[in-house]
Structures are given as structure tokens and as C-alpha cells.
Point group: C2
Chain length 235, copies 2
């Protein structure tokens, strides 16, 4: 790496891999009874994180939590949001706006991590849907002006996440957001799961293509009979 | 892998890694004097492929070809297209439509590989541009109804491609298209470059997010001082 030399040398750049300790944070997972949410909750809890899964019905959340073990708790979505420091949004795309609107108050001040992939499906497979706001993450940011919205965890295979025999999830998690400190918390969270790295990958205005890439991974999975993930090389 | 058993067992599925021999094909690179085109031309020629780079001016193409060595030839765009079996489109986005329109006849029947990333840039960095047709690749398909249009080679670092000290390019090339045999030719071409794999990643309607992901890689490169590429895991 080269850097310009000058009489007044600038302060050394921060190491992008120097991430905060997030082990004490409570992570909520809205939509935690769905495949993606449950898989993420399982991996984070297994890595030692305190996790609360949220659902519209507290009873269903509690049941899913009991199945996951590792100290996972279940709660109705609003309580899940209130009790968590970081809230992962893993609801289906068609309930995305409505769910977030209803939780605006509970999510105020919270670090929100949107991992929703707006996709359509037809006979030819999956295709990207383009939300009016640009992406699911930008929709979340528009609906939650008092929250700190980031986007991450889009490309994970629910099958691999949920399989207790799988020790490591070989993938990088692209983390997007406007505020570096918030992104770094999410990156650190991803890094707690063995095999995963959290990588900063741009601002929310560049979330649409990250969300939509899942349509391509679905094609890859179909052709190669795989559970494809993404690794970034040279970092 | 599970498969349904039935009295009349279906023919075994084709191995997705069983790709054709493309060593005898002539590869043209339109926009071959730009960074991306020149880098790709260099890597393919170094791998033993016959390569012709095209430019608006034959002289400039010839000069770039002479610099690259490895038997690369230079020609005016139209001649480059006429003489090639596979034509990689590596022109700047703002000349994309005009260049392809002008070469409709020469590209008739040819396998066209679009690797153009429609991006805008402002103070906050790069962002995706959405072509009216959906993507650069779909624009190419609309403008070239008599060509076999695919999309690939979007995420390569021109710096790494052009560096003769770099022996392997550690990345997967996502290949998109409508016709499997055409995609497989492009996958095989990518696979000739050491370190690269060509991976089928969907239809052209899912090209936009693959093209736009370059905006994210630019953010990654900036944060990590890297030349990031993409690998797909579990395949």
C-alpha cells in the first residue's frame, strides 16, 4: 500500500477490520419465525449473542424460540423491538412496510438491519422487484426517520443457517449504511458467526442490487444444486 | 442430493461444469483500448485465445494491440466484429447504444458478451443507473435482435487484469443469458483464465443487479484499499 508523504503527515487511517465489541448487545429478529429469521437467530445465539425473535403472535415466537434453544426468547414484534439494541428485519417483503410503520415508535433510536429481498417469482424463476424508495432498506429508512437503518445479511442460505451440522457459514456479509459506526456494529455481529465476515459495501442508495442479487443466487443454486453464498476476494 | 424415483428414470442431468472447448474461437473486444477491454484482451490472449481488439480508429486499436503482445490484433470496430466468433462489449456506457446500433449487421449471428456497468458518479461515490431496457445487457439484446446476447465479466479489476505480475485472477465470472449453450461458451472462455470460473447466474432480466454491483465493489475497494472480486461459495 502506498501513501503520499507530506510534511504534515495525516493521522493514520482507521483499520477497517478494527470493529467494536458487540457481545453485550441484545439482537431482535422481526420475522423471526420465518426461515431466514430463524436461521439467523439460531446462528447468532449459537455464537453467544442474546437473541429475541419477534412475531405477530407472542405464542408463535415463543414456540420457535424454544425450538432454537441457546437462550433465544420469543416475543410479540413490539416487545422484541423495545427490548433489543439491534433489530434485524427479516419479514416477508409484502409485509415489510406495514410492519415497520407499526413499530416506528419502538424502533426509534435503534440500530435497524434490513435483510429483506424484494423478489417476484414466475415460471422463469425469480426476478428483482424495485421498491418505489429504491430498495427495501431505503423504504425502511423512509418509514423509520428516527432509527439508524442499515442493510445486511441478504445472501445467506436459510438451509445452511439452520443446519446444526454446519459448523461454519462460508460467506461474506455485505453491510450497507450511511453511518460508519452503525455499519461497524453490524459487521462485528456478522463476524461473530464462524466463517462469516462483515464487509462494508456502500451506502443505502446502493442496496437495491445487493438485495436483488438473491435472484441470481437462486439461479446458481438451481443449476449447481448448491446453497451459494458470496465471498469478496482481495480483502 | 435427492431426486424423485420413478419407473421411467429421467436421463441424467448434464454436469454444469462440463463446458465446451472454446480454444479455437476468435474473441473480439469492442472498446478494447479502454482499461477493462484491454485488461480482458490481455488475459484471454495470454491464456492462448486469439483476440482482436476493436476501436473507432483502427490505428489506435493496432497500437494497443502491439502493446499487449500475445498475438493480439487491432482493428476498427466493424472489422473486429466481422472477424470474431465471440464479441465482448467493453465500451463506456454512454457510447453503448450508439456503438451497438452501428454494428447490428456485423454482429448478426455472433455471440455477444456485454460487460458494461451503467454507473453514475457524484461526491458520494458511484451509484447504479437503470437503463430503460432494464440493464445494459437487455439494451444490447433489444438493439441486436439477430445476435446471441449474454452478459459477463462485470466485476473484474482492470488493475489486476493488466498487471503481468499477477498470475491468477481470483474471482468467479457471473454469466447471464437466455440460451444455455451460449452461456456455456462464455463460461468456458472465463475458465481459460487462471483463477477464474465462469458460473451461470441467471437470465438477462436479472442482469441489472449484477452490472450495478460494481458500485458496491467500488465502495469496498475504497474502504479496504483493495481490488475486490466476487467468489460464489458452495459451488
Amino acid at each position: 500500500m502506498t501513501s503520499p508523504s507530506s510534511p504534515a503527515a495525516p493521522a493514520p487511517k482507521k483499520d477497517p477490520w478494527d470493529l467494536p465489541d458487540v457481545s453485550g448487545l441484545v439482537v431482535g429478529v422481526l420475522g423471526g419465525t420465518g426461515d431466514q429469521g430463524r436461521g439467523l437467530a439460531y446462528r447468532l445465539a449459537r455464537a453467544g449473542q442474546k437473541v429475541i425473535i419477534g412475531s405477530r403472535a407472542a405464542e408463535r415466537a415463543q414456540q420457535a424460540a424454544d425450538e432454537l434453544g441457546h437462550g433465544v426468547e420469543g416475543a410479540e414484534n413490539a416487545e422484541c423491538a423495545r427490548r433489543s439494541d439491534v433489530v434485524i428485519v427479516a419479514v416477508p417483503w409484502d409485509g415489510h412496510a406495514k410492519t415497520l410503520e407499526s413499530l416506528r415508535e419502538e424502533l426509534s433510536g435503534k440500530l435497524v438491519v434490513d435483510c429483506v429481498n424484494p423478489l417476484g417469482f414466475d415460471k422463469k424463476g425469480a426476478y428483482a422487484l424495485k421498491p418505489e424508495e429504491g430498495s427495501a432498506a431505503e423504504q425502511a429508512a423512509a418509514l423509520l426517520p428516527d432509527s439508524r437503518v442499515t442493510a445486511a445479511f441478504h445472501h445467506l442460505s436459510a438451509v445452511l443457517l439452520s443446519d446444526p451440522e454446519v459448523e461454519e457459514i462460508e460467506t461474506d456479509v455485505m453491510v450497507l449504511g450511511e453511518v460508519r459506526a452503525d455499519c461497524e456494529i453490524v459487521q462485528a455481529l456478522a463476524g461473530r458467526i464462524p466463517g462469516m465476515r462483515g464487509v462494508f459495501a456502500g451506502r443505502l442508495r446502493n442496496a437495491h442490487q445487493v438485495e436483488s442479487l438473491v435472484a441470481n443466487l437462486i439461479s446458481v443454486n438451481r443449476r449447481y444444486k448448491a446453497h451459494a453464498g458470496v465471498r469478496l476476494t482481495d480483502i
